[in-house]
Symmetry: C2
Subunit: 181 residues, 2 copies
DNA sequence: GTCTATACTTCGATAGAC
DNA sequence: GTCTATCGAAGTATAGAC
């Protein structure tokens, strides 16, 4: 029945998230996941076409949130877009820390996956937001540095969201607000 | 003879660097390297104990430069350490762009390698330098963001060193110089 | 519709001949 | 120092049980 299907599928995702986070994507075999779930490798591949599809399913919610954020920023005027982008992105990566870590674990290997097709244009839009839609190359470079740096810190730093959030917003504002040095 | 040994070894490194850069570490098999070099897989593994050892040999010069930079920063006083760290790090990653990209390609998988044992303490020393040896958590967070962000941009951005260097130094200074927002 | 058994392919690595 | 042959493990694929 579909209840069982969903249960098994969810259990696979739960176990895979745990093992991918602990041992990395490449460090976790289908055999490992199947053993922990209590099923066979073939059962995994009944629910997911291949190993990659398990990871893509895990990061899908984060990807949707990124799409939503970029859509929201499109409606913000040039004056407010920088702050909206900074706060929106910091909130997003703090909310999806595990997913961000998984994405970093498998890039650049996964960048050619169809599911990643639009990710490049999404991050480009975010960079434009961080740069306040400036055409200046130095502003865009600063935006790229902050975007990648914030994501990396959220993965690596174990402090909780309450401590991390203000520090990340402050450094982004300080680096991206022009005419201060 | 040793001349031949060195020639083959160097050729393996040359080909491996090219293939790793183009297809990624995981996307390049020993078979691929051997075919391009014109030898067998067993010959590769005569010169290098395992596949990982080829990559470690490729990034060794960059690792040595990082050790040198950290040693140099230890002799700089608190007042000048931030600028020295920023300029030293930007120069280093621009000099070893290919190696930095290779490292990012294989982390976090390689972080447990013995050769990476001291890398964590080296980057910690660099973070302290970026933060001007401040004990403030917000300063240290800003330092981590800039360090990771600069490395990521150097990998991703195809502009040459002359264009990139000033933009990177400026954003780091702006973000890390306190009392400006 | 859900799952098992099993076979196929590729990969990193080893053994032993020359 | 280099080769051929082969191993074990991993990801993948499919036929068929229930």
């Amino acid at each position: 029945m579909s209840v069982v299907r969903i249960r098994t599928r969810d259990e696979i995702l739960r176990v895979a998230a745990e093992l991918f986070t602990r041992y990395g994507f490449k460090g976790t075999s289908l055999h490992d996941i199947a053993a922990e779930v209590g099923c066979s490798k073939a059962t995994l591949l009944y629910h997911f076409a291949h190993k990659d599809a398990i990871l893509l399913a895990l990061i899908e919610p984060a990807r949707q949130s990124l799409i939503d954020l970029v859509a929201r920023l499109a409606g913000v005027d040039d004056k407010g877009v920088r702050d909206a982008a900074i706060e929106g992105f910091v909130d997003l990566v703090l909310r999806y820390r595990r997913e961000v870590a998984l994405i970093y674990d498998v890039t650049p290997q996964f960048l050619q996956e169809p599911a990643f097709d639009r990710v490049r244009e999404l991050t480009d839009a975010l960079v434009a937001g961080f740069a306040g839609r400036s055409a200046d190359l130095a502003d865009q470079t600063a935006a790229k540095v902050l975007l990648a740096g914030i994501a990396a810190v959220v993965i690596d730093d174990k402090r909780d969201e309450g401590e991390l959030r203000p520090a990340l917003v402050v450094v982004a504002r300080r680096a991206l607000i022009p005419g201060k040095d």
